[in-house]
């Protein structure tokens, strides 16, 4: 599904942040990327999603055998890539409902599908809001404006469920969540996943991985994946920190 081959990226005319990343994600898989602050985790998610601030200097990324780097962020979204933002952006004057309506219909338009009817949309909104314990009045508020950290993250997962992407990248979706909110978010992700889609979880903490159980755990350090293992690697990192992996890789 997603193939990342030797990707190098930098902030425009700045220092190199990603220094040769290789990663393949297949349908039905859950991958986790862990790593210390500044290791390039968020840069990787931005590069996959197509943020213009980053310049890819080398390497390829393909998604379902199409060259992703040639596409704008909206086209990547139309292909089924979803990024749950670490810091969701506030958009005053646009309500949650209208945003998701526009988002779904622009995506359907790009995919050559009919717009979704109002009643079907409403049903879908209700069903997903209920799963995430989102109150009705929340949906008519301006997107992310004045939302608490937990509300913002829950709203990201709500949008993910509405858009039903093929690949969901969760960028530190767990930071700032209390344990109840974390469970709700994880339940949402687990309800979403199936054998045809995939999830890439980017996190600092092993805690989330108790709820969203990964098939692979990758350790990212200084712009490179230095170790890959199963879910037990996450526990080991939690217990022992990152230094031992970094030392091991240096040898």
């Amino acid at each position: 599904m997603l193939k990342i081959n030797n990707i190098h990226a930098q902030i425009e005319e700045g220092a190199e942040i990603l220094k040769g990343i290789n990663l393949e994600i297949k349908p039905g898989e859950i991958h986790a990327i862990m790593g210390p602050n500044g290791s390039g985790k968020s840069t990787l998610s931005s590069v996959i999603a197509g943020k213009e601030d980053y310049e890819v200097t080398q390497g390829e990324i393909s998604f379902e055998n199409e060259d992703l780097l040639e596409m704008g962020p909206d086209e990547r979204a139309h292909k089924g890539i979803f990024l749950s933002f670490q810091y969701p952006v506030e958009i005053p004057g646009v309500t949650v409902t209208n945003f998701i309506k526009t988002s779904i219909n622009e995506t359907r338009k790009a995919q050559g599908l009919e717009e979704m009817g109002a009643s079907e949309m409403l049903k879908l909104i209700r069903a997903n809001a209920e799963k995430l314990g989102i109150r009705k009045d929340f949906l008519s508020r301006s997107l992310n404006e004045g939302f608490s950290g937990g509300e913002k993250k829950r709203n990201e997962i709500f949008q993910m469920m509405m858009l039903n992407p093929k690949l969901a990248i969760l960028d530190e979706t767990d930071s700032g969540l209390d344990i109840d909110a974390l469970r709700i978010v994880a339940d949402g992700v687990n309800a979403f996943r199936n054998e045809n889609n995939a999830v890439l979880v980017i996190t600092h903490y092993q805690r989330l991985l108790d709820y969203i159980v990964p098939d692979f755990v990758h350790v990212l350090n200084d712009g490179k994946i230095i170790k890959t293992g199963g879910k037990e690697l996450a526990h080991e990192l939690e217990a022992r920190g990152y230094d031992w992996v970094i030392e091991e890789a240096a040898v």
């Binding site: 943020k51 704008g72 909206d74 979204a77 952006v89 958009i91 209208n98 988002s103």
Partner: protein, 458 residues
């Protein structure tokens, strides 16, 4: 300074010469005009007085403080006709239907090439007088109202007002008696179809609302022939006690045409007046909007949305004069400027010493989409009372890149994402539009202007 920076010294001299030429020309043509149209001595005297005043003052120049950011000189190179040579009107309703808010029932007062079109109009003398100023002036029964208000509300000393007074031929006459809640809105439409030359139009409207009355009025000026016409319009409005008026100016004229709108409103006690100006079209648009609150507990609302591009220029020049206690004014103008567009906001709030317990709010927010777009924003408060609450603010910003990326990530293409953000920015102003069909129309015009086909419906 402004002129000199745009033109060389010799072309500057030419400009000034042309300005003088047009002025001299207008003054000399007035003699002939007045003899032809003369019917009413009192009006004639006012015309006479006005042309003398215009002769002394001439057109506003950039060195005039009130015209610092808007340069009329390029418009004054043209040798305008005062009236189209052929007065034949051949406009069918289908040709102009799109300019009306046509999905509501309304009274319509329509002028084509400065001349009243009874065919396109729908006037009344039943619940109110909604008709034509020129004929009202010649009828005894309207004499009292006209003599009370005509020429008394507008500032005679403004040279553009005096030019209008000197040359106006026609306009709307609206009189809403006491206790009348007007059953439907009034649409004032001024079309220009004359194609043989550029025309300088002088529409003149007199609108008088009695006590405990209510009305909605929509005004629009539209050039249909791609001519560089100039309209210098004057509207005088008197609003009686405890009366409400909602006035909408929809400015989406052809990109060749220019408008100088001079609107003067006086309010009696307990009245509420909202003027909402939507400026999308035209080459140069100057809105001189003046409110005078004459008594206690008046509320004035001034709202505007401007969306312009190319080399368009829109100047909102507002004045709210508070003379009595317990009054309010609320002013909110938002502007979106693309390419080399130039916006001006100059909002003056003048608080007399008697105007205690005032609550005055003024806000001007702008988005510049390019490095070439310009906004000059100048709030002015002159306060001579000591127990008042006045606030003002202005902002100039650009679109937020991180918001755009966020929206694109959710599948919304960049152009639509930009439009959505800009619409959301302007939407606060639209909340005050009371008639849904007008709101829909404005929303459509904004989408059109932003080049997207999305249903904002926020």
């Amino acid at each position: 300074m402004g002129i000199a920076s745009h033109y060389t010294a010799s072309s500057l001299q030419q400009y000034i010469k042309k300005m003088i030429d047009l002025k001299e020309n207008l003054v000399s043509r007035h003699l002939v005009f007045n003899e032809k149209s003369s019917k009413n001595k009192w009006i004639d005297d006012l015309r006479h007085e006005a042309i003398e005043l215009f002769d002394q003052k001439g057109f506003p120049r950039k060195k005039d403080e009130e015209w610092k950011y808007t340069n009329l000189a390029p418009l004054l190179k043209t040798d305008y006709k005062l009236f189209p040579e052929s007065e034949e009107i051949s406009v069918g309703y289908q040709d102009v239907k799109q300019y009306f808010i046509h999905d509501i029932d309304s009274y319509n007062i329509v002028f084509v090439n400065g001349i009243y079109s009874s065919y396109l109009s729908n006037t009344t003398h039943e619940e109110a007088d909604i008709c034509v100023l020129s004929s009202a002036m010649n009828r005894m029964m309207y004499q009292a109202v006209i003599e009370n208000y005509y020429g008394k509300i507008a500032d005679k000393n403004e040279s553009m007002v005096s030019l209008n007074t000197a040359f106006f031929k026609d306009g709307a006459y609206i009189y809403i008696p006491d206790n009348v809640i007007l059953s439907k809105p009034v649409q004032l439409m001024f079309f220009s179809t004359a194609h043989e030359s550029e025309v300088l139009y002088h529409p003149r409207n007199l609108i008088v609302l009695g006590n405990n009355a209510q009305a909605h009025i929509i005004e629009r000026h539209q050039t249909l022939n791609a001519k560089s016409n100039l309209t210098n319009s004057v509207t005088e409005i008197h609003v009686g006690k405890n009366t409400e008026l909602d006035y909408y100016k929809i400015q989406n004229d052809a990109l060749e045409a220019s408008l100088i709108d001079n609107t003067f409103i006086e309010q009696e006690r307990d009245s509420r007046v909202a003027v909402q100006t939507f400026s999308f079209g035209g080459k140069l648009t100057r809105n001189n909007l003046n409110f005078k609150q004459k008594d206690e507990n008046c509320n004035s609302i001034l709202n505007g949305v401007t969306v312009i591009a190319g080399k368009q220029h829109v100047d909102h020049h507002t004045l709210v004069e508070h003379t009595a206690p317990h009054c309010e004014s609320h002013e909110l103008y938002k502007g979106i400027y693309d390419e080399q567009a130039h916006g001006v906001f100059n909002g003056k709030v003048y608080v007399h010493s008697e105007a205690q317990k005032l609550n005055a709010f003024q806000q001007n927010n702008n988005v510049l989409l390019t490095n070439q777009a310009v906004i000059d924003t100048k709030p002015q408060l002159e306060i001579f009372a000591d127990d008042v609450k006045c606030s003002h603010g202005c902002t100039v910003g650009q679109l937020d890149d991180s918001a755009l990326f966020y929206m694109q990530q959710r599948g919304i293409p960049k152009k639509e994402a930009e439009a959505l953000l800009l619409y959301a920015f302007a939407a606060e102003v639209l909340e005050h539009v009371q008639i849904p069909q007008i709101k829909q129309r404005i929303t459509k015009l904004i989408a059109l202007k932003l080049g997207v086909n999305i249903d904002f419906d926020l």
